[in-house]
């Protein structure tokens, strides 16, 4: 094992590089991903080292980027598309939901589309409109897509490679406010997995699993991507107040590893879900519904959700009031603990 400290953005960069070295069919596509290295520099250095044929600066058209990536995937390429910001994925919505998601089914399994769509997402970085959104629920409802989101450099490094190796289309949501968080990365693990007996199948299964990020007995606190750090902080504070919080990092939104959450819920009897996406019709709704369906008679309290409000993401001066924060998570933990 060779553990190195790196940022989450750096881990994605290293993961992309490893994938490109492993498989010459891996291509990067997007706006400014080449010479500039992307507006967040996630693809930094790759254009220089792999050339413009493998790191392609595309025309400014998201539908076109995803649509041509589909065509290239039909010839065996594995395009990794960057959408510059969450709020700019919607021009590609039709290509993603009616084409990318459905081609495998439409072709009765004859066509695989191993396209990865990287989406820097969520807020908290003081950006202007359309640069802070959490659109994951708008994709999780569509069958045929996988959605994963890393919360740590290790998961970022592993996840991007698993996503690329997967024969299914994967939306890879990168919590941009966590890009500069550092962590240890063991770069041998995913390599062994991909080169191992189960290869891409194993990697696909692995990336779909939730992770218990902290054990606890009283409340199950579920988070993913941008809110995992907040959940861990909340657990810390709650512990000081005598409440033992188990933190589950979902890692995958589609499939949703509700089994891991249900297992935890059956022990704790109390569940709080925290995400940046608006609560109403958000990802937490599905998890809440499943946990209730499957663990109803173990619950001491209703599943609670802490998320964004049913309002457009506000100007950045208000974003920290709009987003879930420590106080709001603890308030929900308190509420479930009253039962």
């Amino acid at each position: 094992m060779t553990a190195t400290t790196m940022t989450l953005a750096g881990a994605i960069n290293r993961g992309l590089r490893a994938a490109m070295e492993r498989d010459p069919k891996v291509l990067l596509m997007g706006e400014d991903v080449g010479q500039l290295g992307g507006v967040f520099r996630v693809t930094d250095g790759l254009w220089k080292d792999f050339g413009p044929d493998r790191v392609m600066d595309t025309p400014l058209a998201e539908s076109g980027i995803v649509g041509t990536a589909i065509g290239m995937a039909m010839r065996g390429y594995r395009p990794v598309v960057e959408i510059q910001f969450d709020g700019f994925i919607f021009p590609a919505y039709d290509q993603i939901t009616t084409q990318l998601a459905k081609m495998h089914y439409r072709s009765r399994g004859l066509i695989n589309l191993p396209v990865v769509i990287r989406v820097p997402f969520a807020g908290g970085i003081g950006a202007v409109e359309h640069h802070s959104e959490s659109p994951e629920a708008l994709f999780a409802h569509t069958a045929g897509l996988r959605l994963i989101t890393p919360a740590t450099p290790q998961d970022a490094f592993d996840g991007i490679q698993q996503a690329i190796a997967s024969p299914d289309p994967v939306l890879f949501f990168e919590p941009k406010a966590r890009y500069w968080d550092k962590g240890e990365v063991d770069d041998a693990r995913v390599a062994a997995q991909l080169e191992g007996e189960h290869g891409a199948a194993g990697a696909t299964a692995e990336m779909a699993r939730a992770r218990v990020a902290r054990e606890g007995a009283d409340v199950t606190l579920v988070a993913y991507g941008p809110t995992v750090r907040l959940a861990l902080q909340s657990a810390e504070v709650a512990a000081a107040e005598g409440v033992s919080v188990e933190v589950v990092d979902l890692r995958s939104i589609s499939p949703l590893d509700s089994a891991t959450v249900v297992r935890s819920a059956k022990r704790t009897g109390r569940v709080v879900i925290v995400h940046e996406a608006p609560t109403s019709f958000g990802p937490g709704a599905e998890l809440s519904a499943r946990v209730t369906e499957q663990a109803f008679f173990h619950l001491h309290a209703p599943v609670l959700r802490v998320g964004g409000f049913h309002a457009p993401y506000p100007g950045s001066k208000l974003e920290h009031d709009y987003l879930p924060n420590l106080d709001r998570v603890l308030e929900a933990v308190d509420r479930v603990m009253t039962h």
């Binding site: 065509g71 390429y77 459905k102 069958a143 996988r146």
Partner: protein, 376 residues
């Protein structure tokens, strides 16, 4: 017809007049020069068979055997002409009306009806025929075609030095589709990547009920120039001209000279689909005008005038057509309901927990009826 509008016949390449007289075209005649009587007869045969199939499918829909049918009636010359210019090394992205092209790619025509009977959404193996599945979302496939062409280029299948090995993509869509953002984005991606692709617009003068004037104020072919894509308008009811122009375009693309836009000006002689009622939006006179320009009759007249359509041959083809109709009917009627398990198959290439859980539930649920029946 407006003088300079999208329904004018300005600049149309023509090699066969509506009366079936062969005329020369300065730019494109050379691309059809090698066609001999056998070639023309083969095209005529294909058009006749495709029309027979098309007619049979319409009547199967009327009999309730199909949910819907999308006839290509009247567009046979554009499709068979361009289809004959294709080679196995090429790849086709059809829209949903290219049954004629499908035939030239070796797709067994009745198989197409799986889609329209509601058995499945895709009905043939695209790779086996170099013919992608139909795409019903207007224009969406134009980007796939462009990406596929870019990939062919990368794969060294273009401008190989051996013109017989080179390949290209051809992408079909309608006049209505040219308004879609995706189609225009394809033009940009194809142009800046110099992709080996031919965009083949069948301007059949309608998008369902809307005439082409709802989509453009100028001939559709003019669109390409604005993207740096050379364009040409061809009489789409003229199978020889459609062939020649497609040859030109495909050779260019295969040789690495980049994309081309072909507008084949034709007429949808039938309804948009079997759900459509064209009497609501066009006149009998218009239909009559175009009936006189029927692409099959035109080639037939030409062959007859050359003395190249023997009764034997013609009868043979008509018998084949009848047999195709019969086989189509029988094939369609032989199809049972797909197994329920197919609902859960091929949603993903690898297992997905949600699908697995729902499949498991469904199996238990279905079994419970079987159990109940067994107990009863």
């Amino acid at each position: 017809m407006e003088a300079h509008g999208p329904l004018s016949d300005e600049g149309l390449v023509q090699m066969l007049t509506p009366a079936g007289e062969r005329v020369e075209d300065e730019r494109f005649s050379s691309f059809a020069a090698h066609l001999d009587a056998d070639d023309l007869r083969a095209m005529w045969r294909d058009m006749v068979l495709v029309r027979a199939f098309d007619t049979e499918a319409t009547s199967l829909q009327r009999q309730g055997q199909l949910g819907l049918w999308v006839p290509c009636l009247g567009q046979e010359a554009a499709q068979i002409g361009s289809g004959h210019a294709l080679r196995p090394s090429d790849y086709v992205f059809p829209s949903y009306r290219e049954h004629g092209v499908a035939f030239t790619r070796g797709v067994d025509l009745p198989e197409i009806l799986r889609l329209f009977r509601g058995l499945q959404h895709g009905a043939w193996d695209p790779a086996a025929h170099g013919f992608h599945l139909y795409t019903l979302v207007i224009g969406a496939h134009s980007l796939h075609a462009t990406g596929y062409a870019m990939a062919m280029d990368r794969d060294g299948l273009v401008a190989t030095g051996d013109a017989d090995r080179d390949g290209a993509v051809i992408c079909y869509f309608g006049d209505g589709a040219t308004s879609q953002g995706d189609v225009n984005e394809s033009f940009t991606f194809a142009s800046v990547n110099r992709a080996p692709i031919v965009f083949f617009v069948q301007n059949n003068q309608f998008a369902i009920s809307e005439p082409t004037t709802c989509q453009s104020t100028v001939p559709i072919a003019q669109r390409g120039d604005g993207f740096g894509i050379p364009s040409v308008r061809v009489d789409g009811n003229d199978v020889i001209a459609s062939y020649a122009v497609s040859q030109w375009a495909l050779r260019r693309a295969r040789a690495g000279e980049g994309p081309v836009l072909v507008e084949a000006f034709t007429y949808r002689m039938g309804a948009h689909t079997t759900s459509d009622d064209p009497t609501r939006y066009r006149t009998k006179a218009d239909e009559q005008y175009w009936a006189e320009r029927d692409p099959i009759a035109r080639l037939e007249a030409h062959l007859v005038s050359l003395g190249e359509l023997s009764d034997d041959f013609a009868d043979g083809v008509r018998a084949e057509a009848k047999e195709l109709g019969r086989r189509t009917r029988e094939t369609v009627r032989s199809w049972g309901k797909p197994p329920l398990a197919e609902m859960f198959q091929h949603v993903y290439a690898e297992p997905h927990a949600t699908v697995e859980a729902e499949r498991a539930w469904f199996e238990r649920y279905e079994a419970s009826f079987a159990d109940a029946e067994a107990r009863a």
